[in-house]
């Protein structure tokens, strides 16, 4: 009786239905995040509870050249890989949008790098980049283009380029498929109108395709930047941050200091230091993603 009256109220019933979702969010998202941030303010080690030490971790990190290098690496990695992914992804999407034989088959193939587990593809790249067994080096040597095997993961800048290439390979399909979906929503009559208006193919791309695609570009690139910025698996398998920390990203450094290094507090502080950057990226996209003026008002009839 009391129960049924309690459930009669729409608001109460609504709250009741929201509980499971709220619980999941609290237990698996809010709690770990809160714990991570809190750990960052302590000197907790693996196997030993820590004490509140305020900003000491951050003060120490501020002077830590490896941490600073990891910030630089993370930005370099994110910016270069994102730009490459966008360029290649857009190009691939435009190609896939054309009429061609075995269209759906090719589209399925393109998705492969995205489907394969990151660790698996990372191991494959590890082989490709191996100092002694690299097939890339082997081919180049056989072609007579180089005399010596390339030490892909052994030299700082080469290692950076190699990891960026691997990340790009993995990320392009996501960008390409999303942009392809966007391209397919552009009505063909717009291109016909533009060609009658005198637009060359390049002008059609610039004045029709790109602006019409801009909302979806913003969404896709936000996701791409977030994923790249927090990348961990690929680096950990390929280089573990080496050589001489040249490929250490904030995520890998955080893990290394916290788990193998045992300094949980310091690792947590590094991870927490990523939050402002990610927040900035989200805010940027939040404002960038707001419906543009031309998308507002009226209905699409």
């Amino acid at each position: 009786m009391v129960l049924s009256r309690f459930l009669d109220n729409r608001n109460r019933l609504g709250m009741l239905f929201m509980l499971p979702a709220a619980a999941i969010l609290l237990i698996f998202l809010t709690y770990p995040l809160g714990l991570g941030v809190w750990l960052g303010f302590t000197d907790t080690k693996v196997g030993r509870g820590g004490e509140w030490i305020g900003l000491e971790n951050y003060e120490w990190l501020w002077t830590d050249s490896v941490f600073r290098l990891s910030i630089f690496n993370t930005f370099l990695y994110t910016v270069v890989a994102s730009v490459l992914k966008f360029g290649l992804g857009l190009w691939l999407a435009l190609l896939l949008n054309k009429h061609m034989p075995f269209k759906s088959f090719v589209r399925a193939i393109v998705l492969l790098p995205f489907i394969v587990p990151t660790v698996l593809s990372a191991i494959a790249f590890w082989w490709l980049y191996d100092a002694q067994f690299s097939i890339i080096s082997w081919v180049l040597v056989k072609l007579g283009l180089i005399d010596q095997y390339i030490n892909f993961l052994g030299e700082p800048n080469l290692a950076r380029a190699s990891t960026i290439a691997a990340n790009t390979w993995r990320g392009v399909p996501f960008v390409a498929i999303c942009l392809l979906a966007g391209l397919q929503t552009i009505p063909p009559s717009l291109y016909e109108a533009a060609s009658i208006d005198g637009a060359s193919p390049w002008q059609q791309f610039w004045h029709v395709t790109l602006p019409m695609l801009s909302p979806i570009i913003a969404v896709v690139m936000t996701f791409s930047v977030l994923f790249t910025f927090t990348d961990f698996q690929l680096i950990w398998v390929l280089t573990r941050g080496g050589p001489i920390n040249a490929t250490h990203l904030m995520a890998t450094l955080s893990f290394q200091r916290a788990i193998p290094g045992g300094a949980l507090g310091e690792g947590a502080a590094i991870a927490t230091a990523m939050i402002p950057f990610l927040l900035a990226a989200i805010l940027f996209s939040y404002f960038g993603l707001q419906r543009r003026r031309w998308q507002q008002g009226g209905s699409d009839k």
Partner: protein, 354 residues
């Protein structure tokens, strides 16, 4: 402004030929309507004139220039699309100015020409708006504005009114015709609506199944259809067709229909006994004059006239009268076709018999 000449134009998609050798010549300043049921090839023909579809064989001339291999932008044409195809991310002004901007026209001239077109179309207040913020009719006007500003040789319209509601369609129909009378630019207009065709065209090209059935002015097609298809397509409500046999009946010729009744036939050289189809427009039945007795099925009083649906020898027939008849379903009335305004067609080919 220019004339347009189509010579034996054909179009195939793969192995399927959809336009079978079309010859049409369109004079300078003429308003020509391509009309036909959907799938008759009229839109394909228009798109070939625009350069959006390749021509499989034949020749298309605009002015005195062969344009078979000329890209759309160099054909000096403007096209209004069925879905308007306005650039959603550009304002009304930018939509209209786009072609001139691409051509590198002077900024001041662009402004002047857009303003002028906007004034003609009553769009001056909306130049800063985006297409989404406009109503269907306004979008339609912007699409026309985009065509006007370029001052092209030929306007092409691809079913431009089919997305509008009935009332707006009538209004825009008048506006387009008025615009043509003002600008006098050669126009080719595609529609499936024969009323649009009749009310707007200087010349109608009736198409069916990739062939041209007949070309002529609206009244020529109405008064003198070449075949049963044109007779049935032009005119609303549609012409009635009654199959029968030619007979001579006390000095006059007649058509004996299935139930033995003889209806007066128009003058013809065909011999008695020939199988024919008698075509009579609803407005060319005299109601009340004794000839054939029919049973009323449905009556539609529309105010201006009364439309009566009835059945003659198993065939549905409609008749329109200016008088206000008060009939009830089931009533038996008399109808008489006016013999000088009915037609005879060959039952097989549909060809007009004279």
């Amino acid at each position: 402004m220019a004339s347009v000449e189509l010579k034996q134009v054909r179009k195939s998609f793969g192995n399927t030929e959809v336009v079978h050798g079309v010859d049409v010549s369109i004079d300078d300043r003429e308003f020509v309507v391509l009309v036909g049921p959907s799938g008759c090839g009229k839109s394909t023909l228009l798109r070939m004139i625009a350069g959006l579809e390749e021509i499989t064989s034949g020749e298309i001339h605009i002015g005195d220039r062969l344009v078979n291999n000329v890209p759309p932008k160099q054909r000096d044409i403007a096209m209004v699309f069925q879905n308007y195809a306005l650039y959603p991310h550009m304002t009304v002004f930018d939509n209209m100015a786009f072609s001139m901007k691409l051509a590198g026209t002077d900024k001041r001239e662009i402004g002047e020409r857009v303003d002028k077109a906007a004034k003609i179309l009553g769009l001056s207040e909306y130049l800063d708006r985006y297409p989404r913020q406009l109503s269907g009719g306004q979008r339609q006007r912007v699409a026309m504005g985009r065509a006007i500003v370029r001052n092209p040789q030929v306007f092409l319209f691809d079913e431009p009114l089919s997305n509008l509601d009935a009332q707006l369609r009538v209004q825009m129909r008048i506006e387009i015709k008025e615009l043509h009378q003002r600008l006098k630019t050669t126009s080719i207009y595609v529609t499936h609506d024969q009323i649009e065709a009749m009310s707007m065209a200087d010349k109608i090209v009736v198409m069916n199944g990739g062939h041209v059935e007949q070309i002529g002015s609206p009244l020529e097609l109405y008064d003198n259809p070449d075949n049963r298809f044109v007779a049935g397509f032009i005119g609303s409500p549609a012409m009635n067709f009654l199959p029968g046999r030619l007979v001579t009946n006390g000095g006059g010729r007649g058509v004996q229909i299935a139930d033995g009744c003889v209806l007066p036939a128009p003058q013809t050289h065909e011999a008695d006994g020939r199988e024919v189809v008698l075509g009579v427009r609803p407005e060319h039945f005299a109601i009340g004059e004794s000839c054939v007795e029919v049973e009323v099925v449905v009556v539609e009083p529309t105010g201006a006239d009364t439309q009566v649906f009835c059945r003659i020898a198993g065939t549905d027939v409609s008749a329109i009268s200016r008088e206000r008849h008060v009939f009830r379903p089931g009533d038996r009335i008399h109808l008489k076709p006016m013999d000088d305004k009915s037609f005879l067609f060959d039952p097989g080919s549909g060809r007009r018999l004279q």
